[in-house]
Each structure stands twice: as structure tokens, then as C-alpha cells.
């Protein structure tokens, strides 16, 4: 079943134009929300009775971690769409997601490590969440490595799409395994603050940051998507018109 909107979304010139128009909206709203969230998290929220001010890094750590996973899932979905229906724009979208998702993963790992220092006294613990994030980073690196290793763009698209789908199926399995492994050995407990007991003044900035980061991702992916489309369609006539105009 094909709808007209589906067909249009598959057209590179249309997507290019759409991305160009939407990017400023996402970028500005992301900037506003992140600024608001940072202010709320650093200033408005009271210090945690257990961790003092150290917990505030959660305002960057938690959204980064959540986004690293969300981006991988989006990447896998886009790749699957491209694989099944042979839509090149979907593959371009998946390719655009990967470096952004990897960056969020690195941010989550770095902020998690920085959080660890005041909490446990060490910069690293084999905490199940951090370990899962590390594995996710390797999944991203593998995806990007496979893309880089295949010269033919179309084949790189399709092979990395298979990898992304296999990866996304494995992510819950890996997460479960790592959590179970960690529970066996009673490692120091995680850095999550029990959500129900979080005061509203702590929670609201966190939700604002989640939303802000999501919009940031959307803005970034659209910028990358335009660059990807430019690179892939560089010999098409519509590109010359779009750039010349």
C-alpha cells in the first residue's frame, strides 16, 4: 500500500527542501529548551539530600543516554525502511543518525564517568548501565566501520541496514545479559535516582532537557541529512538548481 505522502517522502529534492525549512525551528526550540533546562537543573532544583550537588550531572547524562538508544532505534527503523522498500532517502537518514548517536553515547559515558568520581571515588565502574552504553558505542562504531569499509554506496547502505536491524534486535538481549551479570556480583548500585521520589522541581528540568535534547538531535540529523543528500545526488540536475537558486 503506497500513499502519496510516502512517495513524496522518498524524493530527495522534497526532503532536502523540507529539511532546510524545518532545521531552524528545531534548532531554536532546542536551544531554548536546553537553556531553560540547564537553568532549572543548576539553579532551581534543590540539592539532593544524598548526593548534594553532584547529582546535577544527571541533567546531561540521562538525556544523552536515552537519546543514544533512541537514535540507534531510529537508525535501525530508517535502515529497515530503506532495505525493504529500497528508498535511498531512508538510507541517507540512517547514515546521518549514526555519528550523532555515537556522540550522544560518548557524552553519556563521559558524564557517567564524571558522575562516578564524586559518587564512588573512581572514574569507572562496571555498572550495568555504563557497560550497556559502552557496548552500544561499539555497535555504533561497527555500523560506521562497515559503511566506511564498503566503497559502493548502495551496497554499504544495504549491508549496514542488515547490521542495524540485527543490532537493534540484540540490544535488549545484551542489556538483559549485562544487567543479570551485574546483579550476580553485587557491584555498587547505579546512579539512578528513584524516579517516584524525585521532587517536581528536580523532575521538570529533567523532562525539559529530554525534550530539548530530542529537538537537538532532530536539528542535527536534518543538517547531516542535507549534507548526505548533497553528497549522494551530486550529479543530479536538481542539485545544481537548488544550489544555484
Amino acid at each position: 500500500m503506497r500513499f502519496t505522502w510516502f512517495h513524496r517522502l522518498g524524493s530527495p529534492p522534497y526532503i532536502y527542501g523540507l529539511a532546510r525549512r524545518l532545521t531552524p525551528w528545531f534548532a531554536w526550540s532546542a536551544a531554548l529548551l536546553i537553556a531553560g533546562g540547564v537553568w532549572g537543573g543548576l539553579v532551581l532544583a534543590p540539592p539532593d539530600y544524598q548526593q548534594g550537588d553532584g547529582f546535577r550531572i544527571i541533567y546531561v547524562h540521562a538525556p544523552s543516554a536515552w537519546l543514544s538508544l533512541m537514535v540507534y532505534t531510529s537508525m535501525a527503523v530508517a535502515a529497515a525502511v530503506g532495505l525493504i522498500w529500497r528508498i535511498k532517502v531512508a538510507h541517507a537518514l540512517a547514515a546521518s543518525c549514526a555519528p550523532i548517536g555515537a556522540s550522544f553515547t560518548v557524552a553519556a559515558l563521559v558524564t557517567g564517568s564524571l558522575w562516578g568520581q564524586p559518587m564512588w571515588g573512581t572514574y569507572w565502574q562496571w555498572d550495568p548501565r555504563l557497560t550497556s552504553e559502552l557496548v552500544l558505542l561499539f555497535l555504533y562504531l561497527g555500523y560506521m566501520g562497515l559503511r566506511a569499509g564498503i566503497e559502493d554506496t548502495q551496497r554499504a547502505d544495504r549491508a549496514s541496514a542488515v547490521l542495524a536491524v540485527v543490532g537493534v534486535v540484540n540490544v535488549p538481549i545484551i542489556h538483559y545479559s549485562v544487567t543479570w551479570w551485574n546483579s550476580l556480583h553485587q557491584a555498587p548500585s547505579v546512579m539512578r535516582l528513584a524516579k517516584p521520589t524525585m521532587a517536581a522541581s528536580m523532575l521538570v528540568p529533567l523532562l525539559v532537557m529530554f525534550l530539548g535534547f530530542t529537538l537537538l538531535f532532530l536539528a542535527l540529523v536534518l543538517v547531516r541529512l542535507r549534507a548526505e543528500i548533497l553528497a549522494r545526488e551530486r550529479s543530479s540536475s536538481w542539485i545544481r538548481e537548488a544550489l544555484g537558486a
Binding site: 561497527g142 566501520g145 549491508a159 536491524v165 540484540n170 549485562v178
Partner: protein, 243 residues
């Protein structure tokens, strides 16, 4: 009553006896791979030698005390098994892709998934199973008690099935990429972590003498999951490499 002579279609596959079902075709693919492997027996020993070598690294770098080695034995054993099976993946699809055999499989009219499953099964028989039989020797060398050995064979046997299946996906994805050894490892290792975790756990339980059935069941479940999905993904990847 019908007096007109029947027109015989020369391309009719002939008597139904000439038809080859998916199972027979898969069995033939398996037989070919086994026969080819035994024509070059030296190649079969290489992953095993590597396994022994990696196992040896641990006492040399940690301590010769068996009591200390026993603590790291599960991890050391599985790290060595994982690396050895990664190396052995070179032999799975590479030759067939280069000489066009894989292409003929894709064009044979048979299920490529079934044929690739047969190839992966042959690969396991030639590398995973020997690894499982060698694992007890390595385990003894790392201080495991003899009571642990049956459990260790079972754990490595089951785990290596999943490792071969996951490796088949990675090997299929990296076909045709020059010098893809490191990339293959980079792709396959993260996906193999659950096998490592539960396999090492099973080995640990075997060494300490506990009930090994639970971790073995998990390993078996992973193998079943792998058998149903991995050949499909590998077939998709092979078709992509043929495009």
C-alpha cells in the same frame, strides 16, 4: 480415447525423483564443505592451536598458581574460545564468495537460508565442536577440577553454536571487503557478549560444583534463537554482496 501424441517438454525436470528438496540440497552443501575441509587438514588445526596459545597467555601473564588461575579460568577460557572462533570465521564464506560458488547457491532455486545454515553447521562441526572437546584440557590447565569437565564441554559446545551463527552474519556482511579481519571482529564481538556472559557463568558454576542446568538452558535458548534468525540475516547479507 486420446489419440494425439503427448508433447514432451524437454525441460520438464523429468521424473519427480530428479527433484532435490531443500533438505537434500542442504545435506549436499554440508557434505561438500566437510569434504573440502578434510582435503586440507592442516587448516583445521589452526584455530585449535590458537586457542591453546591464548589459554597459555593467562598463566604467563597472571601467575602459575592453579588456585589463582581457577578464579579467572571461566573468563580466560571463553576469551580464548571467542577469539579462536573469530579467527576461524575466515573459512566460512570467503572462498565460496571468491570462486562463485556462493553465487551459484543464490541462483540454485533452493533456499539460500537453508544452504547457508548447512555451511554454518559444517563450520561448527569443523571448529566449534573441536573447540568444545579441547576446552576441558585448557580448563584443567587453568586449575579446574575434573568434576567440572562435562559441564564445560556442554557449555562451550552450546555457546560455540551461537558464536558460529552470529559469526556467519558478520562474515556475510564483510564479504569482499579487503583486510576485513578487524572489522569482522568489531562487528561480531558486541553481538557475542551474551554468549560470553552466560557461557562463563556456566563454566563458573561447573567449577564450583553447582547446578549447571540453568545456564546451559539459557545457552541452548540462545542457540535456538540464533538458528532461527541468523541464517536469514546471513542470506540477506550474501544477496547484498552479490548485487
Amino acid at each position: 480415447m486420446n489419440s494425439a501424441p503427448a508433447v514432451i517438454d524437454p525441460f520438464a525436470v523429468g521424473a519427480p525423483e530428479a527433484e532435490v528438496g531443500a533438505l537434500a540440497a542442504a545435506a549436499l552443501a554440508l557434505a561438500r564443505d566437510l569434504k573440502l575441509a578434510f582435503r586440507r587438514p592442516a587448516q583445521l588445526l589452526q584455530p585449535l592451536a590458537f586457542f591453546a596459545l591464548v589459554t597459555m597467555l593467562f598463566p604467563l601473564s597472571i601467575s602459575p598458581e592453579l588456585s589463582q588461575l581457577r578464579l579467572v579460568a571461566p573468563g580466560a577460557l571463553w576469551a580464548a574460545a571467542l577469539l579462536a572462533s573469530l579467527l576461524a570465521l575466515e573459512f566460512l564464506f570467503r572462498d565460496d564468495a571468491q570462486d562463485g560458488t556462493l553465487e551459484q547457491y543464490a541462483l540454485s532455486g533452493q533456499s539460500l537460508t537453508a544452504l547457508l545454515f548447512a555451511k554454518t553447521a559444517a563450520h561448527w562441526l569443523l571448529t566449534g565442536l573441536p573447540l568444545a572437546l579441547m576446552a576441558p584440557i585448557a580448563a584443567l590447565a587453568l586449575g579446574a577440577p575434573t568434576s567440572a569437565l562435562p559441564g564445560i564441554i556442554a557449555a562451550v559446545g552450546l555457546g560455540s553454536v551461537t558464536l558460529s551463527l552470529i559469526g556467519a552474519i558478520g562474515a556475510a556482511l564483510t564479504l569482499g571487503i579487503r583486510r576485513s579481519g578487524v572489522l569482522l571482529s568489531l562487528l561480531t564481538l558486541p553481538l557475542s557478549l551474551p554468549v560470553l556472559i552466560f557461557g562463563a557463568r556456566a563454566t563458573q558454576v561447573a567449577i564450583s560444583g553447582g547446578a549447571i542446568i540453568a545456564p546451559l538452558e539459557l545457552l541452548a535458548a540462545m542457540a535456538v534463537f540464533g538458528v532461527t534468525l541468523a541464517p536469514l540475516a546471513a542470506a540477506a547479507a550474501v544477496r547484498i554482496s552479490l548485487e
